[in-house]
């Protein structure tokens, strides 16, 4: 078994042993999202119009919540040294950790979002589009967030710093993710928006592992 698969399996097993960590993220997503219909009141048109933006923003915040532990746990218990000393590229190790983060955070968010979309009066095609945009867009959040997590490793109040670093970098994904769902009502091409989301994910995939590895080596010194 390659090191990548081994690290991915280890992190998924660790997540499985602590289901509460994932539950908190998903519960935050649900509660934060449901506050909007409650606060705005039963104005069906308005809710349907803001649904995409709200769901995407809260998904973004929810995935930030769990990121500060991504590398910090390994940093604190010394397991990071073992990753730095593994005889295979650290870039792959960073990628494996982000993949595990996406599986336990991004994937459940994408599955949960259409259910919450119903609370905003979305139906049919917009719900499917919402799931599709989150499925394609959340890998970017895990990768960019992972980079921020690696850069803030060892910093005091790293969590707040992490969000400050990662959120601006996630703005393009947020814009195109929310716009994709609106494109269904405005008659624009949904495929183009999804293609841009996929392109953003690929750019993150092609750049962030190297930056993460450099940041982790720096943290290990």
């Amino acid at each position: 078994m390659s090191g990548f698969a081994a690290l991915l399996a280890r992190d998924l097993r660790l997540a499985w042993r602590r289901p509460g960590d994932i539950a908190v993220v998903l519960a935050f997503f649900v509660v934060a999202t449901v506050l909007f219909p409650l606060g705005i009141g039963p104005q069906a048109n308005l809710l349907a119009r803001i649904a995409a933006g709200v769901l995407w923003s809260t998904a973004l915040f929810a995935s930030m919540l769990s990121l500060d532990r991504l590398f910090a746990a390994d940093y604190e218990d010394g397991a990071l040294d073992l990753l730095l000393l593994a005889p295979w590229p650290l870039e792959l190790a960073a990628l494996a950790k982000c993949t595990a983060h996406w599986i336990v955070t991004g994937l459940p968010l994408a599955v949960l979002a259409p259910v919450l979309g119903i609370a905003f009066g979305l139906d049919g095609p917009p719900l499917l589009a919402l799931a599709a945009t989150l499925l394609i867009g959340t890998p970017t959040l895990s990768l960019v967030g992972g980079l921020a997590a690696a850069l803030t490793l060892g910093a005091r109040r790293g969590g707040a710093l992490l969000a400050l670093l990662a959120l601006p970098l996630c703005v393009p994904t947020l814009i195109f993710g929310a716009a994709a769902i609106e494109s269904l009502t405005s008659g624009e091409d949904l495929g183009a928006h999804l293609a841009i989301l996929a392109a953003l994910a690929l750019v993150s995939l092609a750049t962030t592992p190297w930056a993460m590895a450099a940041a982790l080596r720096q943290a290990g010194e």
């Binding site: 090191g3 660790l14 010394g78 730095l84 000393l85």
Partner: protein, 207 residues
């Protein structure tokens, strides 16, 4: 000593603008243990970390069988087993799972026989199913040492391996180190106590 396997020449390291050690040279052959002694802050950990390429040395050369290890860091890392001052255990995994996960992270399939032998060597079989979270400091240290033994690596870098160990566990470590050296392995260990092993040499680091 015929020809040294590990050859360190003129190694210097700076931390925060201050020289931790300068112009350090030593050579180590098969079956030799180098005990690093010195006061707190004398650079024992920094030396071990720079040998593991975790810290970039300011100057100097680390060579394995004549070739600079910086030329092929992955091959060098594959020869190393590391015990840091942190145990590097995942609290939510059991003792055995920790050893298996660490072996797989080295990119090789876990060898069950080596893992069971390592568990037995440090008297960990009765604890093998316990989550690392529930272990005492000494038990955690023994698990980390078992990980080093199970690695099958040629070069062991041990930072204060005797920390938190009771008398029986210290003896177990001496036995395991003795077998490792007898099999032609190398080890560098920072320590305050004489390990009392044949083939052991001392390197004094000045504060």
């Amino acid at each position: 000593m015929a020809s040294p396997l590990l050859d360190v020449t003129d190694l210097s390291c700076r931390r925060g603008g201050r020289a931790v050690f300068e112009g350090l040279s030593f050579a180590l052959g098969a079956g030799e243990l180098l005990a690093l002694v010195g006061r707190n802050g004398s650079g024992k950990t920094t030396l071990l970390r720079s040998l593991a390429l975790l810290v970039r040395p300011a100057a100097g050369r680390i060579a394995w069988q004549g070739a600079d290890v910086a030329d092929d860091p992955e091959a060098w890392r594959g020869r190393l087993a590391w015990l840091g001052h942190l145990d590097g255990l995942k609290a939510d995994l059991t003792v055995r799972e920790n050893l298996v996960a660490a072996a797989r992270l080295r990119g090789v399939p876990a060898d069950p026989a080596a893992i069971e032998a390592a568990l037995a060597a440090f008297d960990l079989l009765p604890l093998a199913h316990r989550a690392a979270r529930t272990l005492s400091a000494g038990q955690r240290r023994r698990t980390a040492l078992a990980r080093v033994r199970a690695s099958g690596a040629a070069v062991w870098l041990l930072d204060e391996p005797l920390n938190a160990l009771d008398a029986a566990a210290q003896q177990a470590l001496r036995d395991v180190l003795g077998q490792h050296l007898a099999a032609g392995g190398l080890a560098l260990a920072s320590t305050h106590v004489d390990l009392g092993l044949p083939g052991s040499r001392r390197l004094e680091l000045g504060a």
